[in-house]
């Protein structure tokens, strides 16, 4: 079983890295960019378990560690 946890900055939180990348893309001549925000994605291989269990487990992983919920949101997808 596989899970993917995507962690992104909450809107309103400054993202210096995203901003720098935005600038770099623009100066590389890649046009049409309004804004860039950078997040993280965790691809997690799980022992087989009921999907509900897996989701609960991933939620706890995200809350306890993977995301800093003060500034970040997370999204969980479980598959397979």
């Amino acid at each position: 079983m596989k899970a993917r946890v995507t962690v992104t900055l909450k809107s309103g939180v400054l993202d210096p890295q995203g901003k720098a990348i935005e600038g770099a893309l623009k100066s590389l001549g890649i046009g049409g960019i309004v804004s860039v925000r950078q997040g993280k994605v965790f691809e997690i291989e799980l022992e087989d378990a009921a999907r509900g269990d897996a989701e609960a487990m991933m939620k706890s992983a995200a809350e306890k560690l993977l995301a800093n919920t003060v500034i970040e949101n997370y999204r969980i997808e479980v598959s397979g």
Binding site: G12, V13, L14, D15, P16, Q17, A20, K64, L65, L66, N68, V70, I71
Partner: protein, 233 residues
């Protein structure tokens, strides 16, 4: 002053910190392994030193903040115990909820090691009583993620309650973007918690305590703490 220096895997400025504490307090600090669940009895000061705990992987300080010893540190702080959190320690303290806000990538996305100037905004804390308010000190920074960021409300509270203790400034104490090497909001280099017993700061006062090594601007912080406990005793 009995101090305890926390040691997480990947921490690397614990020796620098221990040397400063030894030189300034005349007492060897206890080195406390992250897997411990209690602080040594009679600890006056807990220090979370700099380094790359867990390689700075995931988010700086995130993994260390969840180590067993941190529950004891949070309880210690709750009871009013003094906690000094420097650099990676500051990041750990924020992740552990001891201090508000977060330290993001430096604005120019590069690690920076250089001497910076800090204006001391408050001298009435146990950590800064060795300095005068408005005084400027020179201490090194060495970090890639020291860009202090918090939401507008938090910043307003920090400023309103006078909890910004150190700011990056010019040598004569002027706060302006040129001297704010990492882009921190309001040039914040160090803050204290509401109760005033937890200090987080990015720069390294522990690297500027020996006259023979050229600069002693970091001594005030340690001397102030030693004084604080002397008077308390």
């Amino acid at each position: 002053m009995k101090s305890a220096v926390l040691v997480f895997p990947g921490i690397n400025r614990e020796r620098d910190m221990a040397r400063a504490l030894r030189l300034m307090s005349g007492r060897e600090p206890a080195m406390v392994w992250h897997a411990e669940t209690a602080l040594p009895a009679g600890t006056d000061l807990v220090v979370i030193p700099g380094g790359f705990s867990y390689g700075d992987y995931l988010r700086c300080g995130a993994i260390a903040a969840r180590a067993p010893i941190m529950s004891a540190v949070c309880a210690f702080a709750q009871q009013g115990g003094l906690v000094l959190a420097v650099c990676n320690g500051f990041q750990i303290a924020c992740e552990a909820g001891l201090l508000p806000g977060v330290l993001m990538r430096n604005a120019q996305l590069r690690f920076i090691c250089r001497d910076v100037y800090l204006r001391i905004d408050r001298s009435d804390t146990p950590f800064t009583r060795g300095y005068n308010a408005g005084q400027v000190i020179r201490v090194p920074v060495a970090h890639g993620e020291g860009n202090y960021i918090a939401d507008g409300e938090t910043i307003a509270r920090l400023e309103g309650e006078g909890r910004v203790v150190f700011r990056y400034s010019s040598p004569d104490g002027i706060v302006e973007p040129n001297w704010n090497h990492n882009g921190a909001m309001n040039a914040i280099a160090g803050i204290i918690n509401e109760r005033g017993n937890v200090l987080g700061m990015m720069p390294h006062p522990e690297n500027h305590v020996e006259a023979l090594m050229g600069c002693t601007d970091g001594r005030g912080l340690f001397a102030g703490l030693v004084d604080h406990f002397k008077i308390a005793a």
